[in-house]
Amino acid sequence: MSNIVLHPGTPIKIAILAMGGQGGGVLADWIVEMAEHAGWWAQTTSVPGVAQRTGATIYYLELLPEAAAKAAGKPPTLAMMPTPGDVDLVVAAELMEAGRAMQRGLVAPDRTTLITSTHRSYSVTEKAALGNGIGDPNKVLDAGREAAKRVLAFDLQALAEKAGSVISASLFGAIAGSGALPFGREAFEETIRSSGKGVEPSLRAFALGFEAASKAPEVPAAIDTSRPAPVVPDRVANPEVQKLLDKVKAEFPPVAHGMLVAGLRRLIDYQDVAYAAEYLQKCGELRALDERNGGEAKGWALTQAAAHRVAVAMSYDDVIRVADLKTRGSRFERVKKEVGAKADQLVYTTEFMHPRLEEICGTLPAGLGRWLENSKGIGGFVKRKMEHGRRVRTGTLTWFLALYALAGMRRFRRSLLRHQIETAQQKDWLERVVRLVGKGDYDLAVETLHCRRIVKGYSGTHDRGDKRFAALMKAADELAGRPQAAVTLHQLLEAAMADEQGRQLDAQLGMLLKGNLTAGNQLARQAA
């Protein structure tokens, strides 16, 4: 029957997944250029759509030896888009884009080499979360180990930056180093050279990518997402601080040492050694309580939570703190480094500050602050005069001295209105913790400590956190004695951080009031 002859020759199929501005098009063009130079047919297509600014784009290439086409007597007919399960090389310019490639089925276990940069470019949804919305990068590598024939994963963005170039160059190097394409290193490098733009940095980035890929392990290692534990020193210079350190080591379980040292560090920096001692005193009381209530068996959860949350609560963010942090020499150096200023360049910073009446009153002695807050006439006058955005040029003498003096008010902090407010709130909070432990609600007490996470930020953000914290504390009291109380409170905390308007928290608190919110099952159902 056969009068049609099918000729041999199957193209190499390559998909490049990149985001707008990452140079995916440049990379595709380089591959085309190189392939054509080496006597191959090369076709590339994409769906860039000029409007797709930051969206993800797939560039798709097919390469076929020209000799094969000659033998067949016809130019090849190449596909315009990747077919799931039929791609030889997938290149992802960002880690989650590698995940997307697998979701689309472009990666096949018996044939696809997957090259991905492990750096992250967070999506808006990840960044906009009220807490930590970042996706787990290891899930992508886990899937890659199953879905691809081989995975090469390393931070090609960092390598490109190191070389003073862009990621398309280091990706090109990684492709060369992976050996996934039948072209020698020379051919790759010649392509960069003949492009004539930023040749030297591109070649450097190429070399780094090449090296990383040629030395890449068969199976990529997991990405370390753990946070380094605080260093606990053996000895320190100052005898008073040494006393505190000794106390930590003598009286607290080792599991809490790191957090306690971090707490001491923060509070000495924030106020003084006496204030840090006060902190340790509070933590010591809670540790004793913890011990009396079987804390050891619970992994000292209460002590650990206290070490963390009390330190943060005591170092509340006030105007003095901001002025202090903004005027430090170490900060001036950090800014210079971050903006990449050279030694012969001058750097001046401008801060964007917007003090409100509350902040002004908070920085006054308690009595005066209260009076001003309640005084309609003068308070209103101050509000009108003072409450507007200020561009503070920290590098000028006038502004620096003003901020420096403000930071120096640290020594009066304990007598200021803000401190009074914060202290009262802390007292209330810690008393609640003690009460809950006393009632046998150990886990709920731990969660009550952790609820402090929601109080953060300045101005409106801080007020919002304060309000939600108060709502959570009320809920903690309601929950006392109920089964699964801690889990429920934790879920409420998560709800409080789910959206800015507090819709989820309101909804769940409403259910709690109606008695419908009993532990996980109700919520689980809702989530489902």
């Binding site: 086409a69 033998a71 888009m81 997307r100 979701q103 930590n132 903006v339 996470r453």
Partner: protein, 734 residues
């Protein structure tokens, strides 16, 4: 100034005849136009043919050498009406736009053009924005060809076929006195390929000649009774002429195959995908040789009855592959076969998806189902990616694994990716001046409550997406204000409409502004003036500030609006002033002045601005001159990780990173090196009273002696104080 320059690439348009051209689809189309002796070209930019307009703009010199007139039309309607030059005169003209949206806009002019018919070839190149990556409603341009009886070409997606169909299109148009639409899909516009060139031709008859020798033939004008005659003429003369031309010139292609009693009928544009699908079923090779006969319709309208009958006769069953819905061609084929008494079974959307893009995978599944029913042995006898020939291959085939029959998306670990792989919607660029407008709108709504917001086409449409989540509808380019026109009732809240400068000049001035004035609409209209038609790639428009030697720019929007009768106009010439923007919006929403309240929010598109300013800055620095660069940053110890700033900004360079502080588990905000120092972060933090962690760093390059002197004094005092305080802390170091 367009986003991408094709100055280098357009030199390819000068390639002498007989040489090989290698490049992108749109560039090949331009070359084909020149090879066809086109007399004038127009169009309106929009993906996927934005680059075609940019190529033409950059090729203006070459076009002028050949006496070809090119202009950027005000809208697709303008472009279509431009083809009127081919009605009375034997001048070839081509226009281009994004379809179906552009064809919608143009259809009034197109219908008139098609009714009277043309003398010179009239070609409409439509960039079909359908399927993956599309930014518009999913419809077919096919319907326009049918309703106005224009011919529709859908060539095979390789440069040779596309170039050929440009030339064929002009000839077909002239042979049948009918405008011809040439459809190119997104991927065809951007495909890199090759073809052998022909000589560029000057137009046979020029616009100059036409103007000097005017012709007027009332039988070509759409006025009764001529219009009645046109309808008959379309059927009695133009259609048969077209069919004759298409058959004689063999515009449609027949490909032989082994399984002679079945066959595939397909739109030309699907050809490469169909070949790949067959290849994956072991029924074709990489060069288009197929075991199954194919009838490739490079002309999808009109359908040539005789060719269909000829292909189907003697076949048990054929499969029609037609992308999109309704299934116009399939219905047509049923009618043709029935009328001709051909008993061949016709399959189509019964085995293929009714709607959606025809991906290779979708077509493979459809063809497989068709073969299972009508030729099951075809599936049994061949291995996937067959290489039947044993002849001495000149090259050793690259060994590789067979494609997976089923991709492993079902694996639990791949499935689990759904929890972590975030959606990546398109958003505003780094430093975009439109971002502060919508941050201000969010703040205004926080003060005055939520309002109904009508959106429009353009970059500003991204305000619908996170983190802004603003806007309820988008009804078409320039129609933002018009889509609020029903809300013309007195109540406590006013509607807010958004319109871009591109949309404003496209039609918004009349459809939105003049309409609101005339109907005494009380709503608020925000015109986003970023100096370019930015969404389509930064092309100039009448209000652009650029010096464009070929166009008249710098025509202020404000003057046009006032001319249309708007009394309440506020122009904000720096959108980054979030507080002012918010206050102006609030004033517009609350003022007692009657009639539309128009706010013109102006700041230059940052992409374009950077492209313009970066080289100047670098040059200045290199020359040793004093230059200040601004960048933003966040103090990680001041930031508490609530990310309210991000929820009001969404700038790609405003990201998050680990705080490095064991007491701070939430990542802190962080400005990466992509920052262009637009100032939005600081302005938002200030206007929304967020937090003091943002700073602007002014980096002074090549500081003057004066700069250095002041810096010395400052750092002496500041440094001394800093060291004093640091020493105190160091004393207690832990």
């Amino acid at each position: 100034m367009a986003e991408r320059s094709f100055k280098k690439e357009v030199q390819q348009l000068r390639i002498p005849a007989g040489q090989e051209f290698r490049g992108e689809g749109i560039l090949a189309i331009t070359k084909a136009l020149l090879q066809s002796g086109v007399g004038y070209v127009g169009g309106y930019q929009g993906s996927p043919i934005s680059h075609l307009m940019d190529v033409l703009a950059d090729a203006n010199e070459i076009l002028q050498e050949l006496d070809v007139h090119f202009e950027t039309s005000a809208s697709e309607a303008t472009a279509a009406a431009m083809l009127a030059a081919s009605v009375m005169y034997p001048i070839r003209g081509a226009v281009t736009w994004k379809s179906t949206v552009g064809t919608n806009v143009a259809s009034d002019a197109l219908a008139n053009l098609a009714s009277g018919g043309v003398t010179g070839g009239a070609l409409i190149i439509i960039g079909e924005d359908y399927g993956e990556g599309s930014s518009i409603m999913q419809e077919r341009s096919h319907a326009f060809a049918m309703k106005s009886q224009m011919w529709l070409l859908d060539p095979r997606p390789n440069l040779e076929s596309i170039v050929q169909s440009v030339e064929d299109g002009f000839e077909l148009s002239e042979a049948s006195n009918t405008p011809v639409m040439l459809q190119v899909r997104i991927r065809s516009c951007h495909v890199h390929g090759r073809f052998i060139t022909k000589e560029n031709k000057r137009p046979r008859y020029t616009l100059k000649q036409a103007l000097e020798n005017p012709v007027r033939d009332t039988s070509r004008i759409v006025l009764p009774p001529a219009s009645f005659a046109h309808e008959h003429e379309k059927i009695q003369q133009r259609w048969p002429a077209a069919v004759k031309f298409i058959r004689e010139k063999k515009l449609n292609e027949f490909f032989d195959g082994d399984f002679k009693d079945i066959g595939l009928i397909l739109q030309g544009g699907l050809y490469n995908g169909v070949i790949r699908a067959l290849q994956l079923l072991g029924l074709a090779d990489s060069y288009g040789n197929s075991r199954i006969p194919m009838y490739v319709m490079n002309v999808t309208y009109p359908v040539i009855d005789e060719e269909v009958v000829q292909f189907c006769e003697g076949k048990r069953a054929v499969l029609m592959l037609e992308e999109g819905q309704p299934d116009y061609i399939e219905q047509n084929l049923h009618a043709i076969l029935r009328k001709a008494g051909v008993a061949t079974h016709l399959s189509g959307k019964d085995v293929l998806p009714m709607a959606g893009e025809y991906t290779t995978a979708a077509m493979r599944a459809g063809i497989e189902a068709f073969l299972k029913a009508h030729q099951p042995d075809a599936l049994a006898t061949h291995e996937a990616v067959a290489a039947d020939e044993v002849a001495e291959a000149a090259v050793a085939p690259v060994p590789k694994a067979k494609p997976a029959a089923v991709p492993i998306t079902f694996h639990p670990k791949v499935k689990a990716l759904a929890d972590v792989v975030p959606p990546r919607p398109a958003g505003f660029c780094v430093g975009c001046p439109e971002r502060p407008i919508f941050a201000a709108m969010k703040l205004a709504q926080a003060d005055l409550g939520e309002h109904h917001v009508s959106c429009d086409i353009g970059c500003h449409l991204f305000s619908i997406l996170p983190p802004f989540n603003l806007g309820a509808t988008t009804m078409g380019y320039g129609l933002g204000a018009a889509s609020s026109s029903a809300f013309n009732v007195k109540t406590g809240k006013r509607s807010i409409s958004v319109m871009g400068d591109g949309g404003f000049w496209h039609n918004g001035l009349t459809s939105g502004i003049a309409n609101a004035v005339f109907n005494k609409n009380d709503g608020v209209i925000v015109i986003v003036d970023n100096y370019y038609s930015s969404a389509t790639g930064g092309q100039d428009i009448p209000s652009s500030r650029a010096d464009n030697p070929d166009r008249s720019t710098k025509n202020p929007i404000e003057a046009a609006i006032k001319g249309a009768g708007v009394k309440w106009v506020r122009t904000i010439d720096r959108t980054y002033d979030v507080a002012r923007m918010r206050d102006t919006l609030e004033e517009a929403l609350t003022t007692t002045t009657d009639g539309p309240k128009v706010i013109i929010a102006q700041s230059e598109c940052m992409l374009n601005r950077q492209r313009r300013e970066k080289p100047i800055f670098t040059k200045k620095v290199k020359a040793g001159e004093r230059a200040v660069k601004e960048r933003f940053g966040v103090d990680p110890d001041v930031c508490t990780g609530d990310h309210a700033c991000i929820r009001l900004s969404g700038c790609p360079s405003l990201s998050v990173k680990d705080s490095g502080d064991p007491l701070k588990e939430d990542p802190v905000a962080h400005v990466d090196s992509g920052c262009v120092g637009c100032g939005n972060c600081g302005e938002v933090a200030e206007a929304a009273v967020l937090c003091p962690s943002f700073y602007r760093a002014d980096i002074i390059h090549n500081p003057t002696g004066g700069d250095r002197f002041i810096a010395k004094i400052r750092s002496a005092v500041i440094g001394w104080l800093q060291r004093r305080r640091a020493a105190r802390l160091a004393q207690y170091a832990l």
